[in-house]
């Protein structure tokens, strides 16, 4: 049973960095000629994301998103797009795996510098109903590679 006091847990969840990405999302918008595009929503809560990628020679040259949702899903999308630029598609998928591991409470993943700002979302692992919020943009990413724009 979880006996830790509620306050520290909440502040661990809603870190300054997360709120910053929520309020000033990076890479929000659309691309003129995306090579991959996918829309995904969470039917339970209505969170939505449309992710667009410009991939050349298997490298993500640019990535944008539009969407609306809670601080966790929007911050995750902002941080993810920031991280993905100039990464290869296999590298992006590796990061998606790392992100999933972190959401399952994997401490090593939570300390992995490769995840950049996304490590601020490690606290979400302790709020099981919110994990799908954090993973929404990542699921859009993996779906995108399944279907060309």
């Amino acid at each position: 049973m979880d006996t830790s006091p509620p306050e520290p847990k909440l502040s661990a969840l809603y870190q300054e960095l997360i709120l910053d990405h929520y309020r000033r999302p990076r890479n929000k918008g659309t691309l003129e000629h995306p090579t991959y595009a996918v829309s995904l929503n969470n039917p339970l809560c209505g969170d939505e994301i449309e992710l667009q990628l410009l991939v050349e020679d298997a490298v993500i040259r640019d990535v944008r998103f539009v969407g609306r949702g809670c601080s966790i899903s929007q911050a995750s999308a902002s941080m993810m797009t920031h991280l993905l630029k100039e990464k290869s598609v296999p590298q992006a998928l590796t990061l998606a795996g790392r992100m999933s591991a972190m959401m399952q409470g994997d401490d090593a993943a939570a300390k992995d510098k490769a995840l950049g700002d996304l490590r601020a979302l490690a606290g979400v692992a302790r709020f099981p109903v919110r994990i799908k919020c954090a993973l929404l943009p990542w699921n859009a990413l993996t779906d995108a590679f399944k279907s060309r724009a």
Partner: protein, 409 residues
């Protein structure tokens, strides 16, 4: 006057704590907690009465059948149904509406006909009609709502000009708490010859309902939203309509004679109750009705309206809070947003203070689009809630704003 503290004491789950706080359960529009009397009735049924109904030739099975049919009569009396055989037990409101769409609708709707719904309908009173209309090549006409979240009566009138075969609407909105003028809407719809389906999921638990006075044709309700067990509920209908409707599900119990290639069907309501029914659910629902009537539906309605009024006043004092729905008469449902703090984040933060609210679209996506929000936070009250719960909600909400560094514009 309703004694909320005394009611609360009857609910074992509400005696517990959540994250070290007094449990403040404000998600009653989703489902309600169960009083000891309902838990006892279910346990007692299994301890003393359990057997399959309508089949056995032995005493136990006869007693189980009697308990099941007594529950049907209890529901009929509670809603002033036309007759006990006009009460079909279902898994809840959703199945009841699907039954009407699947049996009545499929038999009576033709290509080019119209079904009228409203923009505040729950998906359960919308999607079954979408499916039916698509199958039949019929038109679905959605009636608009006013800015303060009531059915737009002018638009309702216009929709009726199409002479719809079926008109469906919620008595009480699950997202906004709007109490619709049901009797008036039904009178108007009957004037153009429509059959009227009332979604009673949010009205039955919270106000006194008399289906004969309403004069609707079909009325659907859920047991779990009125202190009864999950998976219990009923379709209440004019018996003459049920008589001529084809069956919904095929199987045991709903038949009279079965031949190799065809069957004849049982009398109503059994024609619509294929398979072994949820007897425990029916018995528990009857106990819930006993409890509700002991407290009094009028007292419950008055209590919830007072809590909603207090909550709206209290929340409106917080800069950045927007409350949706009508300001006047409404049920105990309060939907709101708070600046740019997303409803999901609000729900997570409130949960840490032991407060359970709903965040999301409340199964009313067309309504959310009209309100121009993706989601709202929703607090919904019942007989065991009190002003202390309202205050806890407001206090925790202010905390959520602080945690988010929310500064009103």
């Amino acid at each position: 006057m309703l004694d909320a503290a005394r009611c609360r004491a009857d609910f074992p789950l509400l005696q517990g704590q959540e994250h070290g706080h007094r449990l403040v359960y404000l998600d009653n529009a989703a489902t309600t907690q169960k009083p000891q009397a309902v838990l006892d009735a279910i346990l007692d049924y299994y301890r003393t009465t359990n057997a399959n109904v309508h089949r056995g030739a032995y005493g136990l099975a006869i007693r189980a059948t009697e308990a099941y049919e007594a529950a049907r009569e209890r529901v009929a009396r509670f809603l002033n149904a036309w007759a006990p055989e006009g009460v079909v037990f279902t898994r809840g409101t959703t199945e009841a509406i699907n039954l009407v769409a699947g049996a009545y609708g499929r038999a009576n709707l033709r290509q080019g006909d119209t079904v009228v719904v409203t923009a505040m309908d729950h998906h359960s009173n919308l999607v079954p009609w979408q499916i039916l209309c698509q199958e039949k090549g019929a038109a679905l006409r959605m009636v608009e709502i006013t800015e303060d979240g009531r059915i737009d009566l002018s638009d309702f009138g216009q929709a009726l000009e199409r002479q719809p075969k079926i008109v469906a609407f919620p008595y009480v909105s699950n997202s906004l708490g709007t109490v619709n003028p049901a009797a008036q809407l039904i009178r108007l719809a009957h004037a153009v010859g429509a059959v009227v389906v009332v979604d009673g999921a949010q009205s039955t638990p919270h106000l006194k309902v008399d289906v004969q006075a309403l004069d609707c044709d079909f009325y659907a309700c859920s047991g779990h939203k009125m202190l009864g067990p999950m998976g219990s509920g009923a379709l209440v209908a004019k018996p003459a309509l049920l008589e001529v409707m084809p069956p919904y599900h095929g199987g045991g119990e709903m038949i009279s004679k079965v031949w190799d290639d065809h069957s004849t069907y049982n009398t109503i309501p059994h024609k619509f109750e294929a398979g072994t029914p949820n007897v425990e659910g029916a018995v528990g629902l009857a106990a819930a009705i006993d409890y509700l009537e002991r407290v009094g539906l009028d007292a419950i309605a008055e209590h919830e309206q007072a809590l909603a009024k207090a909550a709206i006043e209290r929340l409106s004092q917080i800069d950045g809070v927007v409350v949706y729905g009508p300001r006047g008469h409404r049920a105990g449902v309060v939907s709101f947003t708070y600046g740019d703090v997303h409803p999901h984040d609000i729900a997570t933060i409130l949960d840490q203070d032991g407060i359970c609210i709903r965040a999301g679209h409340h199964c009313t996506q067309p309504l959310m689009r009209r309100l121009n929000v993706a989601a709202t936070a929703r607090a919904s009250f019942y007989l065991y809630n009190d002003l202390e719960d309202v205050e806890a909600l407001a206090t925790s909400l202010v905390k959520a704003g602080a945690l988010f560094g929310y500064v009103p514009a």
